[in-house]
Point group: C2
Chain length 208, copies 2
Amino acid sequence: MKTLKVPEATVIRLSVYSRYLNQLQKNGIKSVSSGEIAEGINGSSAQVRKDLAYFGDFGTRGVGYDVSDLNRHIIKILGLEKEWKTVIIGAGNLGAALTQYKGFQERGFNTVAVFDNDINKVGLKLGGIPIYPITQAEQFVIKEEVKIGIVAVPARYAQEVVDILVKAGVAAILNFASKAITVPKHIEVRNVDLSVNLEILTFNMSLK
Amino acid sequence: MKTLKVPEATVIRLSVYSRYLNQLQKNGIKSVSSGEIAEGINGSSAQVRKDLAYFGDFGTRGVGYDVSDLNRHIIKILGLEKEWKTVIIGAGNLGAALTQYKGFQERGFNTVAVFDNDINKVGLKLGGIPIYPITQAEQFVIKEEVKIGIVAVPARYAQEVVDILVKAGVAAILNFASKAITVPKHIEVRNVDLSVNLEILTFNMSLK
């Protein structure tokens, strides 16, 4: 069912639906309609149905969705049915915050190590996660078969760090450095610019 | 021209186009085609044209867009033609990282103060920006006419902090706390969950 090109906005909403379904599960709620999901996440029920339709036919007309079934499906679609090991490169402010960011763990992303080129940081821990020298990153990623690398270094180091991760065999890179990076075609990359979130706010404010 | 409902994905891409146009301006490039923009940001030229068409007719057929004109238009559309003062609530790991995040300043977001309830942090500075006690947040926001509040506190404090910001008159809140917050209808809110970015990667990896 994954052969259709799925818009990124749909993938993002699936992630939001899944969080909402988690919450329903915690509250012991067994079934839910597309309208209730929509209300819970400030969306529209037509959008919910359209997003889910990319992946098959989950609900029962007039009955709605089984909460835990639907969530299990979405988690599988998002590739989250297993835990992912991640490493973070850069133990500066952002790297330290990401290392201790609880949201990653909650969604099955397990940060196993942080790497930095500052020898004063090496040997310390961030929320229990050790900081290793950047020179050990390649061997660590190979040995632990880490597939996701998170880059939180200053822009001028970003490509160098990315090259190390690629050489070590990661399949995906989440890049927080404000610099375009180059990777082979088979590597998934996502560049995060946190200011986009503020720009969506100011866009909406300027409509008023 | 802003009466059509613009998809959020379009707003996000406008922000990406603008960054790319900045880069072209720095490199002294005067005109650009939709195809060149698309190539620069790994998008499609049809998408670039469609996104821009929401806001008017900027280019000249066969000639393309004037880089600085187009960027000025986009910056205006995004509400970034003026500088925005922001405050950050929470001087923990994430708050500290956000306070010193250069990407905000580059896009015209000026963090003027950080607030925390830890008296050991009060009086310190983060990248030159002072940390004040949370008890002073309301008066500060009123006096400085800050319109955007960034919430980077633990989930259990999120609503309390949001209420302070709303009472003080902010128009928009960027919420990094992993908790649904409630605000009056006239307030713009954006909840940021950083793990969505990893989930887009694992979704794409699972397609392979």
